[in-house]
C-alpha cells in the first residue's frame, strides 16, 4: 500500500478547508477590499489646527464664505490665507496656530493643507453641477460643521456616485438650503425632492462619458 489508511479522509478535508478558505477570501474582499472600509474614515492631520466645528458650526460661517468656488466651478477650492486674515488680523493673534497663518500670509506662500477627498484622475467630478441642482454638501461630506478635522464619510466609489445618479430624488433640496447641513426635510424626502427635480430640471446621466471623459 502506497498510502496509509487515514489518507482516505484527505479529499473530504481538502474540500471542506477549500470551502472555508473560499468563504474567507470572499469576505476579505467584500469587507476590507471595499471603499466603504478603506476610504471612509480617512482623516489626515492638518498643518494648522483649523476647526470646521468652530468656524462653520459655532460661528455659523456659510461654507461658501471660504469655499467660494463651489457654485461656479468643478472644485470647491480651499480658501487662501487672505480669507482667514479677514478675521485673524484681529482675532486670537497671539495663538501659535494663528501665527503660522500670519507667517504664511506675510511670505505669500499657501498653507500646505492635506487633501482629504480625492477622486482618481480618470474620474470627472463637478461641484457646481451638483450644488446648483440642489444637492447639499451634507450628502457627500456629512456633518462637516460638527467635525474638528474633516473626515471622509462616503465611499466616493463609482457605485456610490451611480446610486444617486440613478435615483437622485431623496437627495435633492431647495438650492437655498444646500449649505444648511442641519436641515432635515419634513415628510418624505423623495416627494419633496421630486418637486425640486422638476423645478431645476434634474436629470443626472449614467453613461460612462459623464464621469470618464
Amino acid at each position: 500500500m502506497v498510502f496509509p489508511k487515514w489518507t482516505n479522509r484527505v479529499p473530504a478535508i481538502l474540500v471542506a478547508s477549500l470551502g472555508v478558505l473560499a468563504c474567507f477570501v470572499v469576505f476579505a474582499f467584500w469587507y476590507w477590499g471595499s471603499p466603504k472600509h478603506y476610504v471612509v474614515g480617512y482623516q489626515p492631520v492638518q498643518p494648522v489646527a483649523y476647526s470646521h466645528k468652530l468656524h462653520a458650526g459655532q460661528l455659523g460661517l456659510d461654507c461658501r464664505y471660504c469655499h467660494f468656488n463651489v457654485e461656479r466651478g468643478r472644485h470647491a477650492g480651499v480658501p487662501p490665507t487672505d480669507v482667514c486674515m479677514n478675521c485673524h488680523t484681529l482675532v486670537k493673534t497671539s495663538s501659535p496656530e494663528i501665527q503660522k497663518i500670519r507667517e504664511a500670509h506675510e511670505q505669500g506662500v499657501p498653507i500646505k493643507w492635506v487633501r482629504v477627498h480625492k477622486l482618481p484622475d480618470f474620474a470627472y467630478f463637478d461641484h457646481s453641477a451638483h450644488v446648483n441642482k440642489g444637492v447639499s454638501c451634507v450628502v457627500c461630506h456629512g456633518r462637516v460643521d460638527q467635525m474638528d478635522e474633516v473626515r471622509v464619510v462616503a465611499p466616493l466609489s463609482m457605485g456610490w456616485c451611480l446610486e444617486c445618479h440613478r435615483n437622485p430624488a431623496p437627495n435633492i433640496r431647495d438650492k437655498k438650503l444646500i449649505t444648511n447641513l442641519a436641515w432635515k426635510p419634513e415628510g418624505d424626502p423623495a416627494e419633496l425632492g421630486k418637486q425640486f427635480m422638476d423645478k431645476y430640471n434634474v436629470h443626472p446621466r449614467t453613461d460612462c462619458s459623464t464621469c470618464h471623459r
Binding site: V2, F3, S34, P35, P155, S157, M158, G159, W160, L162, E163
Partner: protein
C-alpha cells in the same frame, strides 16, 4: 469494417508485432523511468531560458505599460492579438483529435491523442497570456469576470470579448479535464511500476486510487464519452467566438459572416500542422516510429489538405464578396489588404496556406516525412500571417489622417519568441514525466485485444 482495418498491421498503432502487452507498457513508460537524457536536458535549458525571457518582458511591460509594444491607435491590437489567435488556433487539434475522432471511432487517433491534447493545453496557456497583458493594467484583469465590485458595473455581455473569455476558459478547463481523465489509468500503471517511494507517492496522488477494476473501467469509459460529447461543440465554438472578436465589430474587412467557419477551418489546419511538426520530432527523438506510423501522418496530411483548401476557398470568397457587395469600404479593405502596404504579408499567407499544402494531393509527398515536416512549418508560418493580415486591417481605418505603418517593437518580437519557451518547457516536462501515449488505449487497438483474434478465439 473497422475491426478489419485494425487488423491491417500498417494501419494500427501497434508497437510490437509479437503483440506483447507488457512490451507496450515497457516502451511507453521508458522515457519517464530512464535517468537523464542529455538532449532533453539541453532542450529544457533552452526553453527554460526563453520562458524566463518571456517573464522578464512581461515584467518590463507591467512596469512600463503597454507602450513598450508597438500597439497604438488605430492598430490597437498588434502582435499581441495576432499571437493570441495563432496560439488558440494551434490548440484546436487537441480536442478535435481527442473528442470528435473518438466519437467517430477513428481509432488511429490513439497514436496521437495524448500528445495533441497536451499540446492544446500548453498552446491555450500561451494564448491566454497575450490578452491578459494586452488589457493594459493586468492587475485589474479580473474586471472581465462578472464579480460584484465598487463600480456597480458588470462586464458588457454584448461584447464578444467577454464571450471570448468564457469560450477560452471553458475550452481550457474541459481540455485539462479530458486530458487528465485519460491519464488516470496510465498514471496508475506508472505508480505500480515505480520502485521509489517518492515516485509511488507522486504518481499515486494523481492516479486517484485507480485499481483498474471492471467497475473503474466502466465508470471511466462513461465519463470519457461524456467529456468527449461536451468538448465536441467546443471545437466549433471556441474559434467561432474568437472570430466574433473581429466579425461583430464594424471594421470593413472584419465584419463578415464567413469568419466563424473560416476561423474554425484555419484553426484545425494550424493545429494539425503543429501536431505533425512536433510528432515528427518526437518520433525521431524518442523512437516512437512503431507507434506513430506513416499512416497516421498521412491521415493528418489529408486533414491539412482539406482544411487548407477550405481556408483557400474562404480567402477567395472574401475577395469575391468584397467586390460583389459594392461597398467601397469593403472593396478598399480587401484591395488594400492584398496590394497595399502589407502586400507581402498577404502574399506569404496565400503561398503558405493555399499554394503549398496543395502538394499533399500527391501520395509521394504525403508519405515523405522530411517534406511533410517542411510543409507543416510553412503552414505554421502561413497561419500566423493570416492573423497578422486580419489584425493589420486596422492600420488603414476610417480616418486617413491616422493611417500609418504598424511595426512591432523588440519587446513584441521577443515576447512572442518567449511563449515558445513557455510551451516548450511544459511540453518537455510532459514528455519526461507523463506517458506520451495512452498505454491502455494503444493496447485496446492491438489485434490481440480483439475477442475474435486468432490467439484467443480458438473456435
Amino acid at each position: 469494417m473497422i475491426l478489419h482495418r485494425d487488423d491491417d498491421p500498417t494501419k494500427r498503432p501497434v508497437l510490437v508485432e509479437s503483440g506483447d502487452f507488457h512490451e507496450v507498457t515497457q516502451i511507453i513508460s521508458a522515457p519517464t523511468e530512464t535517468k537523464f537524457n542529455l538532449t532533453w536536458g539541453i532542450l529544457l535549458l533552452l526553453s527554460g531560458s526563453l520562458l524566463c525571457l518571456m517573464l522578464g518582458l512581461f515584467g518590463y511591460l507591467f512596469w512600463e505599460g503597454t507602450g513598450v509594444w508597438g500597439v497604438n491607435v488605430p492598430v490597437a491590437w498588434g502582435w499581441a492579438i495576432v499571437n493570441f489567435v495563432w496560439w488558440i488556433g494551434i490548440g484546436h487539434a487537441g480536442t478535435l483529435i481527442s473528442a470528435i475522432l473518438f466519437l467517430f471511432r477513428q481509432r488511429w487517433r490513439t497514436a496521437i491523442n495524448r500528445f495533441s491534447e497536451a499540446m492544446t493545453i500548453f498552446a491555450v496557456m500561451c494564448a491566454g497570456v497575450f490578452p491578459a497583458f494586452h488589457v493594459g493594467r493586468v492587475w485589474v484583469v479580473y474586471y472581465i469576470f462578472p464579480l460584484p465590485n465598487q463600480m456597480s458595473a458588470w462586464p458588457n455581455t454584448r461584447s464578444p470579448l467577454f464571450w471570448d473569455v468564457f469560450a477560452v476558459s471553458t475550452y481550457f478547463t474541459v481540455s485539462v479535464l479530458f486530458w487528465y481523465m485519460g491519464l488516470i489509468p496510465d498514471l496508475a500503471t506508472l505508480r505500480d511500476r515505480s520502485v521509489s517511494k517518492i515516485r509511488q507517492m507522486a504518481y499515486g496522488i494523481f492516479a486517484l486510487g485507480w485499481r483498474g477494476s471492471a467497475r473503474h473501467w466502466q465508470n471511466y469509459e462513461r465519463a470519457y464519452l461524456i467529456l468527449a460529447a461536451i468538448s465536441t461543440p467546443l471545437v466549433l465554438s471556441v474559434h467561432s467566438i474568437v472570430s466574433f472578436d473581429f466579425a461583430v465589430s464594424k471594421v470593413p474587412g472584419w465584419h463578415t459572416t464567413i469568419f466563424p467557419p473560416y476561423f474554425v477551418a484555419g484553426a484545425v489546419f494550424s493545429g494539425f500542422a503543429l501536431v505533425s511538426t512536433l510528432l515528427i520530432i518526437a518520433r525521431e527523438v524518442f523512437g516512437l516510429k512503431q507507434v506513430v506510423r506513416l499512416h497516421h501522418l498521412d491521415n493528418m496530411n489529408k486533414f491539412m489538405l482539406l482544411t487548407g483548401s477550405l481556408v483557400g476557398y474562404a480567402y477567395a470568397m472574401e475577395l469575391f464578396i468584397a467586390w460583389y457587395s459594392g461597398s467601397i469600404y469593403e472593396r478598399f479593405a480587401f484591395y488594400h489588404r492584398a496590394l497595399g502596404d502589407y502586400w507581402w504579408a498577404y502574399a506569404s499567407m496565400v503561398t503558405c496556406n493555399v499554394v503549398i499544402p496543395q502538394l499533399f494531393w500527391f501520395k509521394k509527398i504525403r508519405h515523405s516525412i522530411p517534406i511533410t515536416f517542411i510543409i507543416t512549418i510553412f503552414i505554421n508560418i502561413g497561419m500566423w500571417f493570416e492573423r497578422f493580415v486580419i489584425v493589420i486591417t486596422l492600420h488603414a481605418d476610417f480616418l486617413p489622417s491616422s493611417w500609418g505603418y504598424y511595426k512591432p517593437t523588440w519587446v513584441d518580437i521577443w515576447t512572442y519568441v518567449g511563449t515558445f519557451g513557455l510551451f516548450g518547457t511544459f511540453f518537455l516536462l510532459f514528455l519526461k514525466f507523463l506517458p506520451q501515449l495512452a498505454i491502455a488505449e494503444v493496447k485496446g487497438v492491438m489485434p490481440e485485444a480483439n475477442p475474435h483474434h486468432a490467439h484467443t478465439a480458438h473456435h
